[in-house]
Amino acid sequence: MSASDKHTTHFGYQDVPVEEKASRVADVFHSVAARYDVMNDLMSMGIHRLWKRLTIERSGVRPGHSVLDIAGGTGDLTAKFSRMVGPRGRVVLADINASMLRVGRDKLIDNGVNANVDYVQANAECLPFPDNSFDCITIAFGLRNVTDKEAALRSMTRVLKPGGRLLVLEFSKPNNPLFSKVYDEYSFRLLPKIGELVANDGDSYRYLAESIRMHPDQETLRTMMEEAGLERVEYTNLTGGVVALHRGIKL
């Protein structure tokens, strides 16, 4: 790592000062929060529901557990976790972005999910929870936007109970070169168009496509998770590697 890297970080394909990334990511999500769910369905053609479903299956959450859903956005995972942990359990929906958290909270309350869910606006790099406090932590499509991913992984490992699991669902690198080409065309040309038409915000979706390309690939992320102190780290490629689900256990 050179000296200049310490002061800038990537924001999509641009380099921005480290202290600026968080606020620029925040701007992106402030602008998409209202239409986030519709756009997710449109962009992934509904497959994101299956990705999240698989994450829940792999989480091994059972009644009485406490679960932390970081970057939980509009609460898709939280809704189901809340049902699974039951009245004795607890789910914390954390997001760094107030707009997303507000949309998520409203949506969950509208769906009758309330009793065992807490909402916390928190930065994943320095989670405001005591050590060893969660049985399961999930971060779905959020790690990409964190400025210091290593710090975030360390912080998540810290608040995880021994034996607890961290699940990272995130965009990754497709493993088939031909499919990768199609995917590039789709995400750089079609995606910003859809973003412009539906959410009236092409730039945010251009950032999305770029940030996906800058995110570490499957093996790199696995190494990062191991360095953060997690063990038995394994990953599953979904939809040809467009998305990968990493799972690590704190022992």
Binding site: L50, R53, L54, G60, R83, G86, P87, T236, L238
Partner: protein, 213 residues
Amino acid sequence: MALSPTLMLAGLERTLNALLARDPAAPSRLARMAGQRILLRLERPSLGLIVHFHPAGLDLMRADDTAEADVDAVVEADAETLGELLGGAAMERLMFQGKLAVRGRTHLLEATRDLLFDLDLDWEAELAGWLGDIPAHSLAEGLRSLSRWGLRTRQELCADVGEYVFEEARLLPGRHQLEALRDHLTEVEIATDRLEARLARLRRRLAEPETAP
């Protein structure tokens, strides 16, 4: 593909929940079962499935590495036995035959069967939601009288065909004739048996004179 079983489960879950939502008896049953989990293990094909009940329906999940202590009941069976169980065979009988293993709260399995197979869909109310009360009612009445007519027609057809075959064309014997024939055949059978016994006795007598005094 890692996602196809997930897709199938999602589809199944959605269908079941949609059906349960239309059954007036389901909410009270679900309320009793809410929060409980069944682990269903099939031996052939090897498959683990967790059913988690909640007040609005059920969640289906694949069970990759779930410990048995995490669930309220564990059911182990093969696909054939599961078919029998769902077909209404008594749970106790299957358990005694050793085809079905249930551990934990066994009554949960029966409750599940009641929940899924006593579905009494109020489809007329569902139609009313789409068409309005009066059209839905007349449509439902129409369908009901159609089904009654269908049943009656089927019975009449069976009776008519029977009458033709037995009485008019005499292609097949009727039940009374069949019974008379069977009685006669039984008499013939007994008579031949007696005759056989008598012949055997005569044969013995013919073989005996030398020894007789």
